[in-house]
């Protein structure tokens, strides 16, 4: 049974239909990358999965269990099982690094503070930030803030980690430190759904690549298939355009 299964999903912003008939399934341990041009609906798909935008049609199942986006308890349960990191890192400005990472597990999930702090420190150490526990977001570089955001998501122990263009807001020299972190997570077998424009990285880290266009999934395959033998003209056009850079 797939860990995450999306069937015929549709969503819109008001009158603007943004997702149509989206089908996707992710097995445990897979790293699936979503690619596609700007405005194709990649972020929207992740937002729908996290319950930030209600779907109009279709269904989402986690471990076979259907998600009811209208129910609070169901929303709570998906947010227990999935975590998301946004492009703009979105750290809480009023909290230091350690607090940012521990607030949800301690205050919301009521796990013992000492345990959570120990785990958070280990995770922050792994992303190279053990010296910054007491720093505030405005005292960190973009790359550091993004690694804190990833550590915050990991401390929630999600079954699936969603990453939305986590390097897009970073200066070029900071991109690799964040990508390295994600590479390590992939190597550890953490299930991920990644949106990225870093094609070299996508190719290297993904078990599967999914191409979106105009709110629909047009093609899905191994990185080799998508980058070397795309079946769809839209995929080859997108891939060749982006690889020319």
């Amino acid at each position: 049974m797939p860990l995450l299964e999306v069937k015929n999903l549709a969503a819109s912003y008001g009158a603007l239909t943004v997702l149509q008939n989206v089908n996707l399934s992710i097995e445990k341990g897979e790293v699936v990358s979503l690619i596609g041009s700007s405005g194709s609906g990649k972020s929207t798909l992740l937002r729908v999965l996290m319950g930030l935008l209600k779907p109009n049609a279709g269904e989402v199942r986690i471990d076979g269990e259907k998600v009811d986006y209208g129910s609070r308890s169901s929303l709570k349960s998906i947010r227990d099982r999935m975590a998301i990191v946004f492009q703009q890192y979105n750290l809480f400005q009023n909290m230091d690094v350690l607090k940012n990472v521990t607030i949800a597990p301690v205050e919301i999930k009521k796990r013992p503070r000492a345990d959570v702090e120990r785990e958070a420190k280990a995770i922050l150490d792994r992303v190279g930030l053990s010296a910054k526990l007491k720093s505030y977001p405005d005292q960190l570089s973009g790359g550091q803030q993004q690694r804190v955001a990833i550590a915050r998501a990991l401390t929630l122990r999600p079954e699936i980690l969603l990453l939305d263009e986590v390097t897009a807001a970073l200066d070029p020299e900071l991109v690799n430190e964040v990508l390295d972190t994600v590479r390590e997570l992939a190597a550890e077998g953490i299930t991920m759904l990644i949106v990225s424009h870093e094609m070299g990285f996508v190719r290297e880290v993904s078990t599967r690549v999914v191409m979106m266009d105009k709110g629909q999934i047009v093609e899905s395959g191994t990185p080799k298939e998508i980058f070397e033998n795309p079946r769809e003209p839209r995929t080859s056009a997108f891939v060749s355009k982006i690889l020319r850079h």
Binding site: L52, R79, A83, F92, M95
Partner: protein, 224 residues
Amino acid sequence: MNYTLQYSVVLQQLPYLLGGALVTLQVAFLSFWLGAVIGLFGAVGKLKGNRLIRGLINAYVVFFTNTPALVQIFFLFYALPDVGILLDPMTAVVIGMTVNTGAYLTEILRGGILSVRRAEIETAEVLGMSHLQSLRYVILPHIAKTLFAPLSNFFVWLVLGSSMAAVFGVEELTGRAINISTANLRTIETFSVVALIYIALTVIASAALALVGRWCFRVTARIF
């Protein structure tokens, strides 16, 4: 003119005046915090409430920010007894100033809530926080930080504004000054000492607030 200033009669009464200063602080403190609670409900209601709630809050804000606080307290003090509600002067003043403060803070806090980045609120949501939890952990600390200066100023303004309580016979700083000066007829001396006490109060309050802001909310305001 051969009026000689005589401060000794006033200085003898210093403990009495300082006691009044304490009452002044109490009035300001109570009105501020009670008003802040009303303001918070008002702000959230105005942002999240249905049309009826928003309309009622708007009417409240418009009425109380467009009439003098003194007039509002006169109303409480002299009109309510006619319908059987008797208030002692202190209570009437605190209620009046609270309701007045609540109206102003509704608007100020609403602006503060709107200034929280949408992204932080969404993040709170995906981390599993309820509305109340995101208010507590994200919105209020943000407001405390960004609105610290205007809220501190508002508190100082309440310290000074509470002098109108004297009109209703509350023995706060101004009230006690009036008591003294009608007895000793040393109006100039009495009120110049009282003015200095007010300055000391507001300076100390501002400095204390700035320190609280710096320690608790990382507000980088200068103390003086």
